[in-house]
């Protein structure tokens, strides 16, 4: 019993520590003190982010192989942390609004716990820990989705979210129980890998894999496990939507890679690759097809993020360090791009309560900077150079085609063709902002400092992440420690 092993879990401990600070502060401070909660939390979290970037990964495997802290995991956590920091910045205004202010402590607490859960997902090398991480990441989120008490949509979204989440965790557990049957009695990834490396693939294992893809695919909103996404994104408070769309997705994608490549990577018949092949194609396509018609920005972003998840999952198909690195880079770029969009959406929503795409008509006349940021973000999401999204897309395509397989080549073709559809609807937003005639429906306003800071961070990321190759290099090098 070596409790010093907890020392290896520095990122988790930092988050937990922060959680307790917020918890205690929220519980015991008076009214005046509560005013400080938001800035204090944000600043502390910023410091934590910096700390997580700075502290070296010890590369240890602790708790008998249950938890790993290699540089890939740490890089992923650091990336997520940046995203969460931006989310905190952009939500600061909303949190302070009358409706929510009374519950802001809970907001931060739940946020931190879900982040903690995601860390566990990332670092877990044992299915039990993974499941606990997954549940910690998703259950409190349900409470957060229901945060806007005055909005009916928020409740409906929460109900849809929690019921689907429980259903998917039931499926996941069932799948896992079948995996257990083949695992040789151990749920450690490396044991399963060793156990599965020989022999054929029986039907039960295929069912298990399908159920696991479905279970984790729920978090990633892969089609056809995605149907909750749009409603939840639309109904949830914008900050939560942003959080759901990038952070929770990023963590799940990483975990997906770890599980399938580490635990099932040696599977004889590559069964899950084919499943993912189909799922990715369907995900990208269906996500795009739905996104075309959307008129509500948040709902629109939901479908956009579904199809982006398909692109992220391309990284899984590579099963290589290059692919993981590209995927992490993709996630990072996706984080900044998507959060840039959500920063704009939430800034506008906080000010005017408008989230319809039509409301953005002629935005450039009143809010040029927001329009500019939105345009860049849309270009980045669509994969237009010189913005970061282009690089992340191309790099992930490149890593996918690295294997000499015609099937993957065709997969990339499908993905590329889908980029055209996605370009179409991203441009619809650009069109609304710049081209659509008529008077602007949103008056000119100056957004809060925190929102602007968030936006600047995102725009900086969009512009520089692609041009500065060091980040990609960092991702690939980190990924190399895992695969």
């Amino acid at each position: 019993m070596d409790y010093s092993q907890f020392g290896a879990m520095l990122p988790e401990l930092i988050i937990l520590g922060l959680f307790f600070i917020v918890f205690l502060f929220d519980t015991f401070s008076n009214e005046g003190g509560k005013k400080l909660l938001t800035p204090v939390t944000t600043v502390l979290f910023g410091l934590a982010t910096v700390a997580i970037w700075l502290i070296p990964s010890c590369g240890d495997t602790v708790f008998g192989g249950m938890y790993v802290d290699d540089s890939a995991c740490k890089a992923m956590k650091a990336i997520l942390n940046v995203g969460v920091f931006i989310v905190l910045l952009q939500s600061a205004k909303w949190v302070e609004s009358d409706e929510v202010a009374i519950r802001k402590g809970e907001f931060y607490e739940l946020l931190l716990v879900t982040l903690f859960g995601m860390y566990l997902m990332i670092s877990a090398r044992h299915f039990l820990l993974f499941i606990i991480g997954l549940e910690s990441a998703s259950l409190p989120l349900a409470a957060m989705v229901a945060f806007n008490k005055k909005h009916y949509e928020s409740h409906e979204a929460a109900v849809k979210y929690i019921l689907t989440a429980v259903f998917s965790s039931a499926i996941l557990l069932t799948g896992l129980s079948f995996v257990y049957a083949f695992s040789g009695g151990s749920l450690y990834f490396d044991d399963i890998r060793a156990e599965l490396s020989s022999g054929s693939t029986p039907g039960l294992l295929i069912c298990a894999l399908a159920f696991m893809i479905a279970g984790i695919g729920f978090k990633l909103s892969l089609v056809p496990f995605h149907l909750w996404t749009a409603d939840v994104y639309q109904g949830a408070p914008t900050a939560i939507t942003a959080y759901l769309s990038v952070i929770s997705k990023g963590a799940a994608a990483f975990a997906f890679f770890v599980i399938f490549v580490q635990a099932f990577g040696t599977l004889y018949s590559a069964a899950w690759e084919w499943m993912m092949y189909a799922v990715i194609i369907v995900t990208i396509t269906i996500g795009n097809l739905f996104a075309i018609r959307q008129k509500n920005m948040k709902r629109f972003m939901a479908f956009s993020s579904i199809s982006q998840a398909g692109y992220i999952m391309l990284g899984v198909m590579t099963e290589s360090a290059l692919g993981l690195g590209s995927m992490m880079f993709y996630i990072f770029v996706y984080v900044v791009s998507n959060l840039a969009v959500f920063s704009v959406i939430s800034a506008i929503e906080n000010k005017t309560g408008k989230v319809g795409m039509d409301d953005y008509d002629g935005l450039h006349k009143t809010n040029p900077w927001l329009s500019f940021a939105m345009t860049l973000a849309m270009f980045s999401l669509a994969g237009i150079p010189p913005f970061a999204g282009f690089f992340s897309k191309i790099l992930i395509f490149t890593s996918v085609t690295a294997s000499d397989s015609m099937a993957l080549y065709m997969l990339v073709l499908v993905a590329l063709i889908n980029t055209i559809i996605s370009l179409y609807y991203y441009l619809l937003v650009v069109k609304a902002i710049w081209i659509n005639p008529g008077e602007a429906r949103i008056e000119s306003f100056r957004s809060a400092f925190s929102e602007r800071l968030a936006l600047w961070l995102c725009v900086g990321g969009i512009v520089f992440f692609g041009l500065v190759s060091g980040i990609y290099q960092f991702c690939v090098e980190s990924a190399a420690t895992l695969v």
Binding site: Y409, I435, Q473
Partner: protein, 504 residues
């Protein structure tokens, strides 16, 4: 890195953007100053580059690319920022610089949002210049797309007519092309590596030790050629061109038809043919058919259009088809012609679109049925339009003639019946071109004045005169003294021809 001269072709437009960003939103004076200074600098740089290039060639430097430089960018995938120019890219840079220069003047009074217009315009220029200096496929592709996307906003915001539809169509179709292109490039990247080597994006390295299996070559050739062909307005992927051009503002049409469509031809040449020579030998016939159709088809379509811009857009389809057609003939003379045609078409179409823009700015219509006798009202523009028309129909002394003749004579070098038939079909286009050009000239410039309101209109302003005169001088320059271009580019074909010969 900054000591390399070429890289400044990208840096200057970036500086231009930065400068514009610092200008006030409607401070036209500042904006114009920045634009004029930077585009003049670019033009100067391009001219200097040509001179220097010719000097170096004259001094006996026969390496394939000059001014090369290569800096590691994305190490894990061996992506470099690699630059270098041969005779062709030098000329393309010159062409781009000329048209950016002329375009600046052509959009002297752009409205609304002048600053944003020039920002996207500068971004587009960055892409174009970057494309021509790159010898790394990745950066090349990146700049290619950089050049495409500003189009959407430029057309969508500052265009006329069905601009949203056209802008979207143009963007999506071009991006569709670039999707195929990307796939082709990826295939080349991964399959060109010789056993035990490191895959590379560098065009020269790939060309020198390519190991792409023939079956892959065929697939990749189709992908890359179609990808670039879409931008080169190859039949049946040309339909973005009429709508796009019709709705675009003047300077954008100029830049798009003048330079951007050249990216397609250049890319086909530099990547599809050069890197995949055996597939080029094997599959050229498919694309010869398509481009042959483009040439005749575009010309015939132009004959019945009534919108000036549509006429020119279809004429571009025809002329750009000629470029690809020439390149596909796979011999030195025809390729020379193809390059000449790129230059010629670039200048000529830019001139056309500039003039159309100026006429439209005065009469507020582009329908030739509603105009007439402009020669009387605005003689300068009328004369320029006729000159552009003559250049287009291949009047000797203008660049078009030189280019077309070189193409025909080069294409005829292929002795088999298939090529012959298509060459002769292509030559027919010169007659059809004459028909539609003269039809327009007859209705628009000559003849009686159709609309009395037009009688009060004024002739060109100084910046318009300047812009058009620049282009006309260039057109005539090439038309009178074509051989220096021949000399500039003659070495550039040697590696390609060698590769093609080895592939047989």
């Amino acid at each position: 890195m900054f000591s390399n001269f070429l890289i400044w072709f990208v840096i200057v437009p970036v500086i231009m953007m930065a400068g514009l960003a610092c200008c006030g939103n409607s401070n036209m004076k500042a904006i114009r100053t920045v634009m004029v200074v930077c585009s003049t600098v670019l033009l100067g740089m391009a001219i200097w580059l040509v001179c220097e290039f010719l000097d170096m060639r004259a001094a006996g430097d026969t390496s394939e690319m000059l001014f090369t430089g290569s800096w590691m960018w994305y190490e894990p995938l061996n992506i470099h920022l690699a630059v270098g120019v041969d005779g062709i890219s030098v000329l393309m840079l010159l062409l781009s610089a000329i048209i950016v220069f002329a375009g600046t003047f052509a959009s002297w009074k752009i409205d609304p949002l002048p600053k944003n217009f020039f920002l996207w315009f500068a971004l587009l220029s960055t892409g174009v210049f970057g494309f021509f200096i790159s010898i790394d496929m990745f950066t090349m592709f990146m700049f290619y797309e950089v050049a495409l996307i500003p189009m959407y906003l430029l057309i969508g915001v500052w265009g006329t007519g069905r601009k949203e539809y056209s802008a979207m169509k143009l963007t999506l179709m071009l991006m569709g092309g670039s999707a195929f292109l990307m796939l082709g490039l990826l295939g080349i990247y991964w399959h060109s590596v010789p056993a035990g080597g490191v895959p590379t994006w560098n065009i020269l390295e790939i060309a020198h030790n390519s190991a792409i299996a023939p079956s892959w070559q065929n697939l990749l050739f189709c992908f890359t050629f179609v990808g670039f062909g879409v931008l080169g307005a190859m039949f049946p992927f040309h339909t973005w061109s009429p709508d796009g051009h019709a709705c675009a503002p003047t300077a954008v049409s100029m830049l798009h038809a003048g330079v951007l469509m050249k990216l397609g031809g250049y890319g086909c040449f530099r990547i599809a043919i050069y890197l995949l020579p055996s597939a080029a030998q094997e599959l050229a016939w498919i694309f010869i058919i398509l481009t042959g159709i483009s040439i005749v088809y575009g010309a015939f379509s132009a004959c019945v259009q009534t919108d000036l811009k549509y006429i020119n857009a279809y004429s571009s389809v025809s002329h750009c088809g000629m470029v690809l057609f020439a390149i596909l003939m796979l011999n030195r003379t025809a390729m020379t012609g193809g390059i000449l045609q790129m230059l010629s078409h670039g200048l000529m179409t830019a001139l056309f679109f500039a003039l159309i823009g100026m006429i439209y700015g005065r009469t507020h219509t582009r329908d030739i049925r509603q105009m007439g006798g402009l020669m009387k009202i605005m003689p300068y523009l009328g004369v320029c339009y006729m000159i552009a028309g003559f250049a287009s129909l291949g009047l000797p002394g203008m660049s078009g003639f030189v280019a077309e003749m070189t193409i025909f004579f080069g294409a005829f070098e292929n002795g088999d019946m298939f090529h012959r038939v298509f060459v002769i079909a292509a030559t027919c286009a010169i007659v059809i071109t004459a028909v539609y050009i003269l039809r327009v000239v007859g209705k628009l410039i000559l003849g009686p004045v159709q609309d009395d309101h037009h009688l009060t209109l004024t002739d060109a302003t100084w910046w318009e005169r300047f812009s058009t005169a620049t282009l006309i001088v260039c057109l005539a320059g090439i038309g009178f003294f074509p051989n220096w271009i021949n000399e500039t580019i003659q070495h550039s074909f040697t590696p390609i021809i060698n590769a093609l010969n080895m592939a047989i």
